[in-house]
Symmetry: C2
Subunit: 204 residues, 2 copies
Amino acid sequence: MDKNLKRMATMHRMQVTGLELFYKNGYYNTSIDEILKSLSLSKGAFYYHFQSKEDFFVSIVQNLIVRKVYSMLIEPIEGKENPFPVIEKCFENALETAEHNDMDYGFILSNFISEFNRRNTVISNYLMDIYKIWEVNLISILQKGKSDGFVDRHVDSEGVATYLISSYMGVRTLMVQGNCRNLRYKYMQQLRHYFNSLTQKEAV
Amino acid sequence: MDKNLKRMATMHRMQVTGLELFYKNGYYNTSIDEILKSLSLSKGAFYYHFQSKEDFFVSIVQNLIVRKVYSMLIEPIEGKENPFPVIEKCFENALETAEHNDMDYGFILSNFISEFNRRNTVISNYLMDIYKIWEVNLISILQKGKSDGFVDRHVDSEGVATYLISSYMGVRTLMVQGNCRNLRYKYMQQLRHYFNSLTQKEAV
DNA sequence: ATTTTTACCGACCACTTAGTCGGTAAAAAA
DNA sequence: TTTTTTACCGACTAAGTGGTCGGTAAAAAT
């Protein structure tokens, strides 16, 4: 348990650099040699720790990508009270982070979902698991918002979650081509419009 | 002009099969050999007609992808009167077509935008041109809708266009993983909600 | 002190990749 | 009829690709 330290450290280094390059260039357009070169490690080291390129990527999904999505998009809304302002703030933050990151290559989750769609079902499933966690959390906060009187009773929480995730994924795809500030601004404004139409109307 | 017929026919055959495979497997994950094999053509034939893989793909973008996006998403709304029902019907149609196509690998435009993002600026630019045509058309129909009294005067047409494109791209990404019918239903319902909040309110 | 395990090296393998090039049969131009 | 052009063939190249494997130095276990 303690002697695994070195092993864990090396594996983690590989995963971090691996994710960096996979995110930047895409999975199919990134070779293991490339990753190894930028780590000054050898083939032997790689295949000592991982069974295959696919196995390697799965470990990246489960260790790094899950956490990234969680800390950026799930944790900030989990268990919170008034859904719309919370989600709004969360999205705004996420978009701002992307905007100020000149190494931004889009929303990591949707990028890989697109890349592996029907091309590698094993990896696709692991990615969709993350999507589902996100979705469940959105639905949950929306439902709670209904009982707390923040969200109109007639609102379809699942539908709203789908719509939110869709629009977020889409705008992140568009943002990579620049003009981020403007895109974010326009997106957030429309999001507020949309939320407005779902807010509990007091005294009909 | 007439003797080019054979040339055009072969090039077109290559482009059609090329797009099929690029769409299915991704650009970087599809080799020219693969395309040529499924056409029973040789390397010589390919490099006689096209300068490179990139040049080949650019020609596909300009000849086939433009038309696909245009006929599915632009032409049905171009010059029409009441924006929201028209856009709604157009999106509904597009999503239904995708749903009933078991060879659906997502929205062709956003798939490639993702794949080439920052990895190939030449191709990215050609793809973004298509996006811009779409955007301009949406903005234009929304503006017209304002003067015709269908759309609330305070609505930001550009913002709405961005939001529409984003959400459409996103939902198409999600749809590839199945449960399309449900996704489409939920998406369309929320789209209507959103449109409702933008519709001209009569007599304040 | 000896043996075993861990973590890594790097040469090597079979295969695929985009792209080149000399050739050629049929059609068109002269 | 001869020459030229068109449209294509397929062997070849150089540079990768994911993955294997025999080896090894240091650390840990015995």
